[in-house]
Amino acid sequence: MNQADVSKLVSKLRIKVRPNHRNLKNPKGPEGRLDKLRKTVTGLVKYERIELNVNRADEARQYAERLISEAIRHGDCHKPTMDVANYWLLEKELIHKLFKVLVPRFENSKLSYTRLINAPRAQNTRNSEKVVLELRDNPYPDLMSKQSQDKYLIQNVLLDAAKLDYRRAKYAEVAQKMGKASNGKLNDEVKEARNSKESMSIKETKDPIENKTSGI
């Protein structure tokens, strides 16, 4: 019972965290890895939306989430948090942005602070997979717009009307065919009576629709 609640000591992240970290292979070793990630986290806070390779993005995302949640938990008067922010943000004016812009933005959020979205990849290429890493509620247009399903969009209105038109044409065609088929039978009988003496073979091969047109 005396055990401390872990989630009060360490921020609980709202994203999936891998059990082991990625090495992000580079000549400088672990130090180079951290340099890379610091650059990425700085870029993310600065631009709010960046495109990256998937490994680096996912790794940097975890540090960015942790940084923002620490900032929200402790505020800007907490020395260790300030040191962490100072370490991760290479451009020092971004520390102000972190505490004055991002903390108010995410204070009451129930979701993760960042989003990772798969970017399109050219067909038949062997390039590594690209992703887009962004802060939520950024000012840019939404990447995941599902609005193309909206039936009032002009392309959907046009396609819908075309569909209706096509269906009507088909129904009319079918109805006409049915009418013709019955008419054709009548025509057949009339012709049969008329042409019975002349030839039996031609009549059998004739289509009811053809009969109708020739009859009229």
Binding site: L153, I154, L158, D160
Partner: protein, 341 residues
Amino acid sequence: MKLNITRLTKNITQNYYIKAPVLSRCLSTQEAIERRHHLFTLEKKRQMESVGRIEKIEVRYKGVPKDCTLVMNKDISTPFDCARHFTEWHMNTSALALLDGTVYWDMHRPLTESCTLEFQTFSVHDPLHVNLAFWRTCSLVLGACASVAFKDTVPVVLHSFPHPNVRSGSFTYDIDLPSLHDWKPTEQELITLSAEYVKIIRQNLPLERLEVGEALAKEMFIDNPHKSKQIPDIARNHGSVTVYRMGTHVDISKGPLIGNTSQIGRVAIPAVHKIDNVTDEDVTHLYRFQGVALPTGVRLNHFAFSVLIDRAKKFNKSQRIRFKTSTDVSKSEEERVKMNA
């Protein structure tokens, strides 16, 4: 040259007995376009100058990136000017402005009083009015396209375009071609028309709005017997005549229209049909030009678009009523507007 024409017009219009036909014979299509453009410029300048002392209005903007208040100039600043305070994205994608949540306003029409402002793109939640404005603009551009596409020897007299109906599958423009008796466009000619259309929209022309009096409207369209016939009706119903300018092309439209021709994306002019049952005796050979277009940024499968093109080839007969007498036309249009509202 322009001066000469205006002087000539004045002389002719002052003389009661000799009227439009004389001048219309003097003006080629190109000259008439230039003259209209010139008159539009003068009138716009005059209206700008008549604003007088500049007053400020408060425009409360709602939308991304955040709600804010802009202080703009009364009767001078347009919603487009407001968009310029935000981002290029706002300038390029906004098709219409929504004032006070109810009034749809052109992007290039000066604001007259303090209001709230929202920008309407083609992907807003309920884009009915944006779609109508888009369809109307496509019709207007089709008129401009047809008036430049033909050779100088073929006179082109624009008649009118009906109330936009997106569900009909095509936007239309009825154009009188007096010298072509039974013209059936070949495939190549239709492709040329579409190409001319694309040339126009690639120029990224803004659509400017101006409300002019009946006299000036008549003066503008003095070479066009059909339009000058329609103008008195329009002026009676609406008090003034609303004209739009796109590049040098000036045309009558009730509006609102979208902000810029660059917002028209994929387009095709698949058919031109001759209309025979016209009750108007002035019209000699009326042709209905039909096209289909999508806004910029809409990605549609080529097969789906070919379905739309095939549909647009069929004669768009939903507005047959248009070919009754002019008073009937305005009445029926009003009814249609009421139904839509």
